[in-house]
């Protein structure tokens, strides 16, 4: 294949995978979870622990005039309190990834001097029980001086609005122009230019069912801070916490076993971990905190809200879409907790699934008095991909193309791979036309069009929608240099250790923090294949443990990469161990290494299976009978093999904003048939299908489960889940009663199929997956627009509850502006 040489150094793909890799072996994790034997963070406790309750700002923006904790501290059972004032002394502001102006921000673990969003922690109370802590919190007197609020992600940059961070001087955190190809040429030479006024990607969260929590103990004797927490990217957290409180990473221990979902929302919990550490040191006790749901919804992290303005799309008369030009405003909320990485992450998928060549995105990251954003499932790419899909459908509608044909025409074609995007990213493999064909079969596209015609005049309108998305995985942290050339990050990687223990047990430890993705199972599958044994003979340590497991700076579970980085590391370590076992086995059997094979937990001669040594024989010899071995052999094996998988990245270019930003490009194409009630605007999904392509699948059932889950998040966000603030900055859906998480009645059965286009760039042909790219957001918007009467306003928002659809239905009769215009030559 040309790819290996053209874009990346050749990668050797393992021939050993097969016996178990690729099979839907049942998950080893399941037994303990089904038996109620899981160990989630709220299930843990320590002797003498206190319980924490955070007093939070009821104001979206207010100066903290004074805090009086005396009445609370006088309560029986109250151990200590921690105020923002103290934090200002005990903590240095967090390191900022943004250059100026955003980089000037001073961010602490609690509100210092000023609260900038409703729910921001102002005081922490530690007491004998959580109930007593909450009782005491009501006795804490905080005097606030309310300040004006700024809530609109675009309007917040206007001169007259309140400035959230005085150090920055405005509410602009980052600005940059991404200019690829020649969009001006394209706009001048296109047969048509489609202009879209505004598209808005709303705020929501994948809201894991387990909220954030931690049990933290700052050991006064050793000076080690132990964090038992469901944070899903501990080394990233350590990078922020360490310098902020002057503690080395060697004095920070992180561990988790079972995590009740994360979806990226649990990456930015480092602020809470910092506060808990400081409180533990002050009180001289372990401190335990379990976030309530309202705290989670109001003050953990929200997905990025993004507004796209003045979109111009040059289109040729044959339907070829040349590119697009847009102004994007990404609303980061009150602080840059993971931002402004989102300002570059989207550019992993600049043209979406299409052969779009000329793109200019004028991108501004802004600040508002809302909950800070975090990298929610599909982070930053799904916002952009949704806009691209909206462009495709709007162009089709306005210029009279069939939306299916327009996609077929503009898709990157199977023969194009590896495909280089306008900004130098390399799409590794895929076949979007085949996926589209399959997904249309699954929903019986022609039949659905029939039903659509038949439904006219019944009061119910049928709509058919398509959404094509990418799930770019294994990102190159060097892309952070595109937003800040001074950042010391590049590449990516994950570490694993595979060892043979004394009695022949094979143990695997990894640096990842699984939250339901089945890492224990898939790691056992690939290890078993490489060592010639069965997965149930492989013990994969559960969860993350910095001290007991190996790790690298990128360790964690995020951004669709485990199958590549995590399993890449496990495979490398297993191969190393295999090499050592073969060496020792060959010596003990008096044979050449080339005569040796591993099977059923034995080292044996390929030619004579009777001549075999069980792994216990190898281990016992190396660990307990080592004098039997030649010295140089004994010195050359450890049976304890660590491997770090490193994707073959180079550093992207800061000036041109180009480079190889991610290694793999899994894709999903969804299709839906919906029914819209003309009188109410209520949308009902009649049929839903998803076709997935993520390279070689190690465990197909786990992959399918990830597709279902990502689809449900998208469907929920499209129809039910939206964070809404009132004009005062108060969150109006602060509980699950008003933030309607999709139920079993809201998510339809999902018809699923897949195709497999192995990645040529990864050690196992797999692509990272799991985020899904937000396909349902595009699909349902596409279907709603398809159901609307002639002359209706375009579907302009990712969230369409019944009232919004009702208004769209009525817009046709109103004959008002439709949010789009076409200029033709």
């Amino acid at each position: 294949m040309k790819s290996e040489t053209t874009y990346y150094p050749a990668v050797e793909q393992s021939e050993r995978l097969g016996a178990f890799s690729g099979e839907s072996v049942p998950r080893v994790e399941d037994k303990r979870l089904l038996k109620g034997q899981g160990a989630f963070v709220d299930d843990l406790w320590m002797h003498r622990q206190g319980h924490v309750h955070f007093v939070r700002s009821p104001y979206a923006h207010a100066r903290i005039v004074s805090i009086d904790v005396s009445r609370a501290e006088a309560q029986p059972g109250v151990y200590a309190t921690l105020t923002g004032e103290e934090v200002g002394v005990l903590q240095q502001p967090y390191f900022q990834m943004a250059p100026e102006p955003g980089g000037l921000m001073k961010d602490y673990c609690m509100a210092v001097g000023k609260a900038r969003y409703m729910g921001e922690p102002v005081v922490a109370v530690l007491a004998e029980s959580a109930a007593l802590a909450r009782d005491a919190a009501e006795l804490i007197d905080v005097v606030y001086e309310p300040l004006g609020v700024t809530l609109d992600g675009v309007g917040t940059i206007e001169p007259d609005v309140p400035v959230i961070h005085d150090e920055i001087g405005s509410n602009v955190a980052w600005h940059g122009v991404y200019d690829y190809g020649d969009v001006d040429w394209a706009l001048e030479n296109a047969d048509h230019v489609v202009r879209i006024d505004r598209l808005h990607f709303h705020r929501f969260s994948s809201a894991p069912l387990e909220t954030t929590g931690a049990l933290v103990n700052w050991d006064p004797g050793t000076g080690v801070i132990e964090f038992r927490t469901n944070n899903q990217m501990p080394m990233f957290a350590a990078m922020f916490i360490g310098p902020a409180i002057g503690v080395g990473v060697d004095h920070m221990q992180f561990s988790s076993q079972d995590i009740g979902g994360g979806f990226g929302i649990k990456i930015t919990s480092y602020t809470y971990l910092t506060a808990l550490a400081l409180l533990s040191r002050k009180a001289g006790r372990p401190v335990k905190w379990s976030e309530t749901r309202w705290e989670h919804l109001a003050a953990s992290a929200h997905g990025n809200e993004r507004t796209f303005l003045d979109i111009e799309v040059p289109v040729m008369s044959d339907g070829t879409i040349l590119g697009f030009k847009v102004r994007a405003f990404d609303d980061a909320g009150a602080y840059l907790r993971y931002e402004p990485l989102g300002a570059v992450i989207w550019s992993q998928v600049v043209p979406g699934n299409y052969r779009i060549k000329h793109v200019r995105v004028d991108y501004t990251e802004t600040l508002t008095n809302k909950c800070p954003v975090g990298p929610n499932r599909g982070y930053s790419r799904l916002q952009h991909l949704w806009m691209v899909e909206r462009i495709i459908d709007i162009v089709a509608n306005e210029l009279g193309f069939d939306p299916v044909e327009l996609r077929r025409l503009n898709y990157v074609q199977p023969e194009d791979y590896p495909y280089e995007t306008p900004n130098g990213c390399i799409y590794d493999s895929g076949d979007y036309p085949a996926m589209l064909e399959r997904v249309l079969e699954l929903i019986d596209y022609e039949g659905a069009r029939e039903r659509q015609r038949a439904a006219l005049g019944t009061g119910k309108r049928i709509g058919i929608g398509i959404g094509s998305t990418l799930d770019s995985g294994t990102n190159n942290f060097g892309q952070s240099r595109i937003i800040n050339s001074a950042l010391p990050f590049s590449g990516n990687g994950e570490a694993a250790v595979v060892r043979l223990d004394l009695y022949g047990e094979v143990t695997v430890t990894i640096g990842t923090t699984p939250q339901g993705q089945g890492h224990e199972t898939t790691a056992a599958q690939v290890t078993a294949d490489i060592l010639g044994m069965s997965p149930d003979q492989v013990h994969v340590a559960a969860g993350y443990n910095k001290a007991a497991n190996t790790y690298v700076g990128f360790s964690g579970t995020y951004a669709s990469q485990f199958a590549v980085t995590g399993l890449g590391a496990v495979m490398g370590a297993a191969e190393k161990l295999r090499g050592e076992i073969v060496k020792v086995g060959a010596c003990m059997l008096g044979a050449e290494e080339s005569d040796i094979e591993l099977a059923d937990g034995f080292v044996r001669l390929a030619a004579n299976h009777e001549a075999a040594i069980p792994f216990i024989g190898i281990a016992a010899t190396v660990f307990a009978n080592v004098a039997e071995l030649p010295g140089e052999l004994a010195d050359s094996v450890t049976l304890n093999c660590r491997y770090v998988y490193r994707p073959p990245f180079t550093v992207p270019d800061h000036e041109t904003k180009t480079g190889k930003l991610t290694l793999t490009y899994a894709s999903q194409i969804h299709a839906a048939v919906i029914e819209v009630d003309e009188e109410t605007g209520l949308v009902t999904i009649l049929d839903y299908a998803a076709v997935d392509e993520c390279g070689r699948k190690i465990n197909p059932k786990i992959v399918e489960g990830q597709v279902h889950g990502a689809a449900a998040h998208g469907i929920g966000a499209a129809l039910y889940e939206s964070f809404e603030y009132d004009s005062d900055g108060q969150l109006l859906n602060a509980t699950f009663a008003d933030y309607h998480a999709a139920t079993a009645l809201d998510v339809p059965d999902i018809r699923y199929d897949d195709i497999e286009c192995p990645s040529p760039f990864t050690p196992n042909g797999a692509k990272g997956m799991g985020e899904g790219g937000g396909a349902p957001l595009s699909t349902i918007c596409s279907a709603i627009e398809d159901a609307l009467p002639e002359g209706a306003h375009i579907v302009f928002d990712t969230h369409n509850n019944s009232e919004r659809v009702y208004e769209l239905l009525r817009s046709a009769a109103a004959k008002g502006p439709r949010g789009v215009e076409v200029l033709s030559r």
């Binding site: 004998e128 079972d258 279902h708 998040h713």
Partner: protein, 162 residues
């Protein structure tokens, strides 16, 4: 577990066949009684408004949310939690086995509630349609599976138990 303050009532409640005679604060929720007082951590907490069902337990044969009931109100009741399912610490009952076989769980946090929901559903209706299953599961939120494999697991469990 530390005291919470406030009035105390003594109750007698049977959990998974074991009867406990204890004094509990009147304000204590049943879910906290199960998790903290009894130290049984299989019953989970996912929200504070009775919407998520992660704390579902069986009370006198009926599925309830243990965050929507005071522990004192459970006086004299028979409670079943996820720990009661299966025969011993390693055995999976047919419902648990079906969830495992059909990948009806990912992070596993909501799972105990779904298992108990399924148990009571199949006791009332051994042969539920997909629509009946979805309606029955409505009070339990899952954020990982999209419910697709949970519904399949319930169908398989129904099959196995028939």
């Amino acid at each position: 577990m530390a005291g919470e303050g406030g009035a105390v009532n003594s109750i007698e409640v049977t959990v998974n066949g074991e009867t406990h005679r204890v004094a509990v604060e009147a304000r204590r929720l049943l879910v906290h009684f199960i998790r903290e007082t009894l130290g049984m951590r299989g019953t989970h907490i996912g929200c504070d408004s009775g919407n998520c069902g992660a704390c579902s337990v069986i009370c006198d044969g009926q599925l309830i949310k243990s965050c929507m009931m005071l522990a004192v109100a459970a006086d004299g009741c028979e409670i079943e939690t996820v720990e009661s399912l299966g025969d011993g610490p390693d055995d999976l009952d047919p419902i648990q086995a079906a969830f495992k076989e059909h990948h009806g769980l990912q992070c596993g946090y909501c799972t105990p509630g779904f298992l108990l929901n399924t148990k009571t559903l199949l006791a009332e209706n051994p042969n539920p349609s997909e629509a009946e299953i979805r309606r029955a599961l409505k009070g339990n939120l899952c954020r990982c599976t999209g419910y697709v494999n949970i519904v399949r697991s319930v169908q398989a469990a129904a099959e196995a138990l028939r």
